[in-house]
């Protein structure tokens, strides 16, 4: 089953966001001059781990242990424990997966107290600066942004409903596209999102599927303000539902009832139908299925890669200096999250459109998904993980566990047999 993400809020802002934009440009230019990487890859935790495989490490231990005769069974078994013991303690100290589900730790403070674990009183000047920051963000920026958000959402609902009354045809499509784009751009301004799009020539075309890494619901707004997509998602109630119903009047988005989401074949069928109709818009999908904290890319669910359409990968990387865009859904609800977004300084991100990929003859869906995932991870400077984002809420699947254990036991018994033969 492939959980689908939805197109959500709509906000808008006509305000002049020239200030922060100028700052970003300067930063980027400065970085280029000094040849620094603007978004450097996330440093890995607190311990240095050897990237060797299970087999190599065990061989090493055995080699160092057996200075005497080769068939010293006792040492072999005892030394294998060393390896697993150490590995176990290493993962207890710091593991790759659980830290992806909470906000990234920053190396330098960005004047938002929420991102600094060691927030303590250092100096009067700093506290005053911070206090000023709070004042500006909450009393000046926030009301402005909320007003714009309100404008944007209402415009979207009203606009798409009006367009929906028109007869189907080119004029309707034209209007619909521009209504959508305008409203999303208003939203982008409401968040003061400063987006740099790279390689726009690779933008998704009709009949394709656009896949991207998922950090927050804002991803949708960011992508949709630069291109015209068909959204895929579950039908919601409330304000969301109103927006969804209005949007679908203007152009064919794919909304699933909650019951339909469970049926993988139904989902695949509807998506295939949509994709095969060349007049329909490219679909926007987030194959991770859940929000990850933008330091890594987790396993892509294979559903969207089985359909057989051209895949347009997109990498989105947020700059943590200005605000943390990650939505920790177990900690914050949607409204709290939006408030946090709107009270940050700005949301700065880069979007890279990667060249389209298609499934090759010998590949199956899973390998194709991994290939796309690696491309996205490489471009965005994110860590490429094989783990399933579903681990946020569930435990490791038993099948995966068993595979690893099989590998190890094969090695031991193999060696034992060799020894008894010689």
């Amino acid at each position: 089953m492939q959980p689908l993400s939805t197109a959500c809020e709509v906000q808008g802002a006509w305000s002049d966001s020239a200030g922060p934009q100028w700052a970003t440009l300067r930063m980027e230019r400065g970085a280029k001059e000094k040849n620094h990487q603007l978004y450097k890859p996330y440093t890995n935790g607190i311990i240095a781990k050897d990237p060797t495989s299970l087999e190599e490490e065990i061989k090493e231990i055995r080699r160092s242990g057996s200075s005497k005769a080769l068939d010293n069974t006792l040492e072999f078994e005892l030394s294998d424990i060393f390896y697993f013991c150490r590995k176990g303690v290493e993962t207890i100290m710091d593991d790759e997966v659980t830290k992806r589900f909470s906000a990234e730790e920053l190396e330098s403070w960005n004047l938002l107290s929420r991102t600094n674990y060691n927030f303590q009183y250092i100096s009067l000047r700093l506290t005053v600066l911070w206090g000023l920051g709070v004042l500006i963000r909450y009393c000046f920026l926030l009301p402005l942004r909320i007003a714009l958000a309100f404008t944007g959402i209402s415009l979207l609902v009203v606009g798409t409903t009006v367009v929906g009354y028109l007869p189907n045809g080119r004029f309707k499509e034209f209007l619909s596209k521009h209504v959508h784009l305008m409203c999303y751009r208003i939203c982008v301004r409401a968040l003061t999102a400063i987006i740099t799009y790279h390689d726009r020539k690779n933008r998704p075309r009709n009949g394709g599927i656009c896949v991207a890494n998922h950090t927050s619901p804002i991803d949708v707004i960011i992508l949709a303000s630069d291109g015209y997509y068909a959204m895929v998602g579950q039908v919601h109630g409330g304000l969301m539902g109103v927006i969804q119903r209005a949007m679908v009047k203007a152009c064919p988005h794919v909304w699933f009832e909650r019951s339909e989401v469970k049926d993988r074949h139904l989902v695949a069928k509807r998506l295939t139908e949509h994709v095969q109709d060349k007049s329909k818009l490219p679909i926007l999908i987030f194959p991770e299925g859940t929000c990850i904290n933008n330091t890594s890319v987790m396993m892509f669910k294979k559903g969207s890669f089985e359909i057989g359409a051209t895949v347009y990968p997109v990498a989105i990387k947020y700059d943590p200096q200005f605000g943390d865009a990650f939505w920790n859904s177990s900690k914050y609800g949607m409204v709290t999250y939006l408030l946090r977004m709107m009270t940050s300084w700005a949301i700065v991100c880069s979007v890279w459109y990667l060249p389209p990929m298609t499934r090759e003859a010998e590949e199956d869906a899973v390998q194709f998904a991994n290939r796309v995932k690696s491309a996205i991870a490489r471009q965005g400077g994110l860590v490429d993980l094989l783990w399933d984002g579903g681990l946020k809420r569930e435990k490791v699947k038993d099948t995966f566990k068993e595979e690893q254990q099989k590998l190890y036991s094969k090695m031991i018994v193999g060696n034992h047999e060799d020894r008894s033969r010689s």
């Binding site: 160092s64 700093l126 034992h416």
Partner: protein, 214 residues
């Protein structure tokens, strides 16, 4: 751990007891809080959330080692129900790398401590000896994932190993002499001259403290 006076004294005390630097202690404290869900103590169940640990065949022995009274230096046997941060650090200190500035005697001491930690993992009934049963138990756990290996193979591996141990430790045995089990001294004898304890450490990266805005 904030900037209050008593808290930093605590840190210094822990530094002295366990040998970690204050940065490392802070990192580990964060990790502790993450594992315990912001509670002051950790129980066995808290280790269930680490996916990588699930793959480890001797997972239960490792977790058990955290609660073992012998490792916590709280008694000759038995298991604690929960451990606090200081206990957590005590266990972690068994995995600190051997400091190159230490003299020979201290190095030997460190080595002994690490090997003793391992010995306790095998010796589950705390009687000071690794019996054939206990050894078999460990080998079975190591091979537990593979359904194709029958219990018999696991047993024969364990039996073979114990015979080797007997020959190394006791030398020639009389035909009716029973080998009771590997004592800690025998254990040390087996590993004598082999630099195995360098495999028993976790290397900490040099963590810069989180700098304030510049």
């Amino acid at each position: 751990m904030g900037a209050t006076h008593s808290a930093s004294e605590e840190v210094r005390e822990l530094e002295g007891k366990t040998g970690f630097s204050s940065d490392q202690i802070e990192q580990l404290h964060r990790r502790f809080k993450h594992l315990s869900g912001d509670q002051p103590t950790i129980r066995k169940e808290n280790f269930n959330n680490i996916p990588d640990l699930e793959l480890n065949p001797i997972r239960s022995k490792i977790v058990r080692a955290f609660f073992d009274n012998r490792n916590l230096r709280k008694g000759p046997s038995g298991l604690a129900d929960e451990i606090n941060f200081e206990d957590f650090l005590t266990i972690m200190s068994y995995f600190r790398p051997i400091d190159t500035t230490m003299d020979e005697e201290q190095v030997q001491l460190c080595r002994k401590e690490k090997l003793r930690f391992l010995f306790h993992m095998y010796d589950s009934d705390s009687d000071g000896r690794i019996t054939l049963e206990e050894y078999r138990n460990v080998v079975e756990e190591l091979l537990s994932g593979n359904p194709h290996i029958e219990k018999e193979s696991a047993r024969s591996i364990a039996d073979g190993a114990m015979m080797e141990a007997a020959s190394v430790c006791v030398g020639r045995m009389e035909p009716d002499q029973v080998y009771e089990g590997i004592t800690f001294d025998d254990f040390l004898k087996i590993w004598q001259g082999i630099d195995i304890e360098t495999k028993m450490h976790v290397r900490f990266l040099n963590m810069e403290t989180i700098a304030l805005c510049h």
